[in-house]
């Protein structure tokens, strides 16, 4: 090849490269935090302090993103997952969120944990128009697209779950007298509200509402008091320790109402076993995710993928830690949303894609439980399936039920 021809072909090549590059540039749109090679996303989880057990959420999320990166990333871009510790202290959450947005310059925040920490940064992130996606809390307040268009929930809310119990009771036990024992905080009150809303005009069938404080050593006296109202159904909207105490007390009193415990307290290891397996027989609860310790999922593809991930990227994690499953599921949804964004990685498009999930199924969720969102529905998971404790484990029964609540 002569020098001239070589030059000419080089020129041609350059011209072709330039046109394709500019054509590609025209399609690609980026906001802060996204480039041709990288997507920066932020996260805040308590790795230290009193709530550090939830640190598993962040660790599992990091493992998912690492795996995605090893497999080539999302549309050719690697995920740079920056996760900070706030020790569950809201002032620290604000500092870390500002660091992520203003110093690390992330595209979005995902899976930040806790109601108070998320409330502390909600206004700031919305004023900066930074997506606050899939917050890891069960409060109902994350479904307010009009006031906070950049904040989206993920977990089924306590109210949704409670509505499902109301639906079940209205159908299966019409006319039965209902009593509630709830923890006197935002969680317990959300649960109670969901139940009343679910019963609607029928709410007068609630014959006893008994609340306890987290600081009380035991709820035994409350259970005794509830029995004096002689209800047919007892709902326990408690945290695990108190759930176990209440179920045990029922056994000791030899009183067997239809007993429902919240998903929060549905742990086999932390509630049913301490309460006594024989006392726990027949207790009802609801679930949205697969229980890793349940033998019926032993050969399930979704659980196998989860186990493989832990084995390769997070061997020190205890697989039955339900927070790890939550983190895994959250990160899976995030990956899907980013994949759908394609080359348009603007914050606006991320929100648009997050709003457009239509019955999206994930391996870690129960069959039939799917994620659905819209411009007015910022609550991806609203379905749960009822389950009953039989033998030494939970058995799912009935259809997947929806506890949908309209956004505002």
């Amino acid at each position: 090849m002569s020098t001239r021809r070589r030059l000419a072909s080089a020129f041609l090549g350059f011209a072709v490269a330039a046109t394709t590059a500019s054509a590609a540039l025209a399609q690609k749109q980026y906001d802060t935090g996204a480039t041709d090679t990288e997507i920066k996303i932020g996260n805040i989880v308590p790795y230290s302090g009193p709530a550090s057990a939830y640190g598993s959420v962040g660790k599992a999320m990091a493992a998912v993103f690492k795996k995605v990166n090893d497999e080539g990333g999302i549309n050719g871009r690697k995920i740079n997952f920056i996760s900070y510790d706030d020790g569950y202290s809201p002032p620290k959450t604000v500092e870390q969120a500002r660091k992520l947005v203003e110093s690390d310059e992330v595209l979005l925040l995902v899976g930040t944990l806790g109601t108070a920490p998320n409330t502390a940064i909600q206004k700031y992130l919305n004023s900066k128009k930074v997506p606050q996606l899939f917050v890891a809390t069960g409060a109902t307040k994350w479904n307010e697209p009009k006031t906070f268009p950049w904040t989206m929930g993920w977990l089924p809310s306590y109210q949704s779950e409670s509505r499902i119990y109301a639906k079940y009771l209205s159908k299966e036990k019409p006319g039965a007298k209902v009593a509630v024992l709830y923890q006197n905080d935002d969680m317990g009150k959300d649960y109670l509200k969901g139940l009343k809303d679910g019963f609607g005009a029928d709410a007068s069938r609630i014959v006893a509402e008994e609340s306890y404080e987290v600081s009380e050593p035991t709820v035994d006296s409350h259970v005794v008091k509830i029995k004096s109202a002689n209800p047919d159904v007892l709902l326990l909207y408690t945290t695990p320790k108190f759930g176990a105490q209440a179920i045990k007390k029922l056994g000791e009193m030899n009183w067997k109402p239809v007993t429902i415990v919240s998903n929060v307290s549905a742990s086999t290891a932390a509630v049913m076993k301490p309460a006594g397996i024989e006392n726990s027989q027949g207790v009802i609860s609801a679930a949205y995710a697969k229980d890793v310790s349940d033998p019926q999922w032993a050969s399930d593809a979704g659980i196998k993928a989860f186990d493989d991930l832990l084995a390769k990227y997070l061997p020190e994690m205890n697989r039955i830690d339900s927070s790890a499953m939550t983190g895994y599921n959250l990160a899976t949804t995030m990956v899907e949303v980013l994949r759908r964004c394609g080359d348009n990685l603007t914050r606006e498009n991320v929100m648009k894609q997050a709003q457009s999930l239509k019955q999206f199924a994930q391996g870690g969720l129960l069959p039939g439980v799917t994620l659905t969102t819209s411009a007015t529905d910022y609550m991806p998971i609203e379905q749960l399936q009822l389950m009953q404790f039989k033998g030494e484990r939970w058995q799912l029964f009935g259809e997947v039920i929806s506890g949908e609540i309209a956004g505002n």
């Binding site: 790795y47 230290s48 302090g49 009193p50 640190g55 996760s83 900070y84 510790d85 020790g87 569950y88 202290s89 809201p90 002032p91 604000v94 500092e95 500002r98 660091k99 947005v101 203003e102 110093s103 806790g114 109601t115 108070a116 920490p117 409330t119 502390a120 909600q122 206004k123 700031y124 006197n184 905080d185 935002d186 600081s215």
Partner: protein
Amino acid sequence: MSAAEEVVTEAPAVEAVPKRAMTLGYGTSLVVLAALILTPLFVKNFVIFQMTMLLIYGLAVLALNILTGGSGQFSLGQSAFYAIGAYTTAILMEHFNVNYALTLPVAGVICFGAGFLFGQPALRLSGIYLALATFALALAMPQLLKLGFLEHWTGGVQGLVVTKPDAPFGLPLSQDMWLYYFTLAVSIGIYIASVNLLRSRSGRALMSIRDNEIAASAMGVNVALYKTLAFGVSAGITGIAGGLGAIAVQFVAPDGYTITLAISLFVGMVVGGVGWLPGSIVGSAFIIFVPNIAEGISKGLSGAVFGVLLFLVIYLVPHGARQVALVAQQLTAKLKRN
């Protein structure tokens, strides 16, 4: 109690010239002040926010320093006063639409009252027993804020969201920068007032109580009054810091004011140097930035790394920043002589 009290009794602050030992020289003060005024012009908003928090925690550490370094009383309950101040500001701003600047004196006065009242029973206690009583106060505070009948005002577990103020008179400053200079002005005012307090007759009375209570009362110092006053002043300043903190963070919730905060402030005071007021800001920097550094070194072991760093500081410079400053002063003096 011996270790901490030793620090206090050995402190140069109690020597003949408390004036110099307690503060920085004029030259150094001006340099620090200039740095505090000019730095925000060149850094990102996030760093300005961190500097605001630095000043706020600095004020809270200063308040503890007056109590412990000045009157020799211990407190692990500063987070309670900080919380009262923060909630006072938040409630006044959000429920009564009071201007943020006006909420601070109210927070200060309420906390002064709370501290003064708490100081009454605390009079009967000393040393570790007092520390324990204040510890109880710090433990109780987050739960008190969740009480049902207060929920209408405090927002219960959910807390209260606070609106951040804009710069007044249409000044071309960002919210963060305005809040920083506002906080700086308040901090300088309180710092100067504190220095003057400790240099005054009352300050000497406080220090005499710290050094020897019996001797102090023999000289006619009203021990009970001055001890409770020290508690009140300290709580009042902490309350103002809490109010500023609520405005800067834009949110108050019981989870933000746990015992961890009280212990952090205590750590800040020891690292800064007990009884040396300028050390407050060094201590504040330590409790804000060192946990971040520790997290950078190891996420899973951030607490352990923080512990090791704290241990190193206490082991190498047991008198904190004051010791470093003294060594630096001696070195410069030596250099000048040569």
